[in-house]
């Protein structure tokens, strides 16, 4: 069935839901590259009008990627909770936006609603929202997860300490961990992207990170962000795996391009649970996503990149993750060209993830071929902080020397917390206070207690 709307005397027709959703999407380069973007500003706003008039129920009967062809669609439709959906079942997309913004729609209402929403409903409403809408609704949502500490409590902002080294050198990794701890980072996770994805190297890094955490008795979790199959091999070898990481996408074919399936993720999740390493909770999956990955894998089915991105959150929520983050500016300018596009995409992804009940973090980042700089990152970080982002990355000096991109620094985390009155996860904050780390970094000292973290130290 088709959709249409007239604006300024011109009738715009959209042959199907995919086309309507794509045309309603605020402009970004990836949709232009895919050939699905609106042809004009008028066509875009006409699509937004037509989308606003669409009943939310419509999304339960009209899939953007066919049910028969795609296991993510089947997961979304088969897992839909009709009772949770009931409060908004009579609304249109436009009515849903108004409902979300109303004062009476609070954290409890939104938490109860999450299982009743599909990614496409959430993507649709985000397309007719301004940044302030995306921020004020997301700020109402509370998603709390636990492994060795409590992530996502109101008034907190957690940081992933990301100590990547170009050759996985133990002392390079350890030095960055100490630097991050001195600057209050590491409560979300101490997580390394390995330079090489083989199981020996993975086990070595896992032992290093777990050794640091254990010797310093830090109430946090560690992760080496390898492919899930490599992590499963490490678990078989008895390596200390806290979190199980995987990059995921919003279609079956995108996930295939990442070398994973829903069944494989379930298997990895079970293997992680069997280790029983969480002390106060068992949320242990860690997923990364990002707009554009489906087009990059030629697995987008003609759907706009933001809608596909939100579908990946349906995959994530199936596994009750501790952390999810969108690596928003990493993929490159052919998908998100400049600071404006990156900022909007980061706030969309955060809003959509939160509304679907995910502990949503954002890698506020850019590459050197994108039209973006530190000012854009400051803007996005500050906006996300006000939106209640669960966590952001912490990279020494904002410069990831392994992945060759810029993310938020340890200092940026301190800035956002201080400006917005946010605190680390409570267990981690108590540990930071006991160690006196803020005073030490202020004075340029290296506390002797931290040196126990270094490889070879007693």
């Amino acid at each position: 069935m088709g959709f249409a709307h007239s604006i300024n005397g011109t009738r715009h027709v959209f042959p199907d839901l995919r086309r309507l959703m794509a045309c309603a999407t605020p402009f970004r380069s990836g949709d232009a590259l895919a050939g699905v973007a609106a042809g004009s500003a008028s066509e875009r706003v006409a699509a937004q009008h037509a989308l606003a008039d669409l009943p939310l129920r419509h999304f339960l009967n009209d899939a953007v990627v066919p049910y028969e062809d795609d296991d993510v669609t089947r997961l979304i439709i088969d897992g839909h909770d009709a009772r949770a959906f009931a409060p908004v079942a009579a609304l249109t997309v436009g009515g849903f936006r108004d409902w979300l913004l109303a004062e009476t729609t609070d954290a409890f209402v939104l938490a109860a609603l999450a299982p009743g929403l599909t990614p496409e409903m959430v993507a649709a409403v985000s397309k007719i929202m301004r940044l302030q809408d995306l921020i004020s609704v997301a700020a109402k949502v509370s998603v709390i997860t636990r492994f060795r500490n409590t992530i996502g409590l109101p008034g907190t902002l957690s940081i992933r300490l990301q100590p990547n080294d170009p050759v996985d050198a133990p002392r390079g990794v350890a030095a960055q961990i100490l630097d991050g701890l001195l600057l209050g980072a590491g409560d979300a996770v101490i997580g390394v992207n390995p330079a090489t994805d083989n199981v020996d190297n993975l086990c070595r890094l896992l032992e290093l990170l777990d050794g640091v955490r254990d010797r310093l008795d830090i109430p946090t979790q560690t992760c080496v962000l390898s492919h899930v199959t490599t992590t499963m091999l490490a678990m078989e070898r008895g390596a200390p795996v806290d979190l199980v990481f995987q990059s995921i996408g919003g279609t079956e074919a995108t996930n295939r391009s990442f070398g994973v399936s829903l069944g494989l993720l379930a298997e990895a999740h079970e293997a992680g649970l069997a280790l029983g390493r969480g002390t106060i909770g068992q949320n242990l999956m860690y997923f990364e996503t990002g707009q554009g990955s489906a087009l990059s894998a030629n697995a987008h089915h003609g759907v706009d990149q933001q809608t596909i991105e939100v579908r990946s959150y349906a995959v994530a929520r199936k596994f009750s993750p501790l952390l999810v983050n969108t690596v928003v500016g990493f993929i490159g300018p052919e998908y998100l060209f400049d600071g404006k596009q990156i900022i909007r995409a980061g706030l969309e992804d955060h809003f959509c993830g939160k509304l679907l009940g995910l502990p949503m973090g954002v890698d506020v980042c850019y590459t050197n071929h994108a039209e973006a700089d530190q000012d854009d990152m400051d803007a996005l970080l500050t906006l996300l902080g006000t939106a209640g982002v669960t966590y952001v990355m912490g990279v020494a000096g904002a410069d990831d020397v392994m992945l060759a991109y810029q993310s938020t620094s340890f200092h940026d985390g301190l800035y956002a917390r201080a400006l917005l009155g946010k605190r680390p996860a409570p267990e981690f904050e108590a540990w930071l206070d006991r160690q006196g780390l803020a005073a030490a970094s202020g004075a340029g000292r290296m506390p002797a207690s931290l040196l126990r973290a270094l490889p070879g130290a007693a």
Binding site: A32, T367, H369, G397, V401, G444, M446
Partner: protein, 259 residues
Amino acid sequence: MAGDLRLWRDLRGLTQARVALGRVGTGVPTAAHLAFQADHAAARDAVWSALDVPALLEKAGAIGLTACRVASEVPDRRAYLLRPDLGRRLRPEGRATLPEAAGCVVFVVADGLCARGVQTQAMAVIAACLPSLAKAGFAVGPVVIAEQARVAIGDEIGAAMRAAATVVLIGERPGLSVTDSLGAYLTWAPRPGRTDADRNCISNIRAAGLPPLAAAAKIFWLLAAARRLNATGVMLKDEQPDCSALSASQDPVLTQETE
């Protein structure tokens, strides 16, 4: 190493990462802030740098090879960044000028995401390959210099020249600390439609990474192995002896970025 550390700044000796910058309130001190801005400026300028083609043609002549220049269908640098598909396609007028080099190894020198390292190192890598290639009976065709090009442009070039294999030497996405890194992409029996799975990649070619001489040795090793297998790609594993696993990583991130 723990014994040497008393001050925060002592961490600097342990890593090339930007650790121990100090802090002023929650901010970065001025000197560190401006140093970062300078490195970002260098990286930005590197992305927008262009090949000096006449100089490259002259260098090719100096190592005894003829050379020609072609361009992709990309009209300008902004379009290069936005339209990777156009960067993979050859402009028709260029295709017509390509000489035949049936059965030869053809080196394609392409700007990619950063021309700087290509300008300074590509011909040195090629020159270092030539003696072993000659000894092993490989014929080497004319060098093709390709502007505003992505890796896959080598497939169309190789097919037009009827090359046995292409070696695309292309500039990698610059980081804050590295703005002169080259990638080498080897494709046996190149033709349009080849994918990443059909290629072997050597990344991080630069003096402080995998130096040009070592890169040349690896290119030769892979070409010799490709000739035996009659293929490059996932079937061809890099088992070159005496080589650190990290010197030629097949980092998917870097691979995607130039592709």
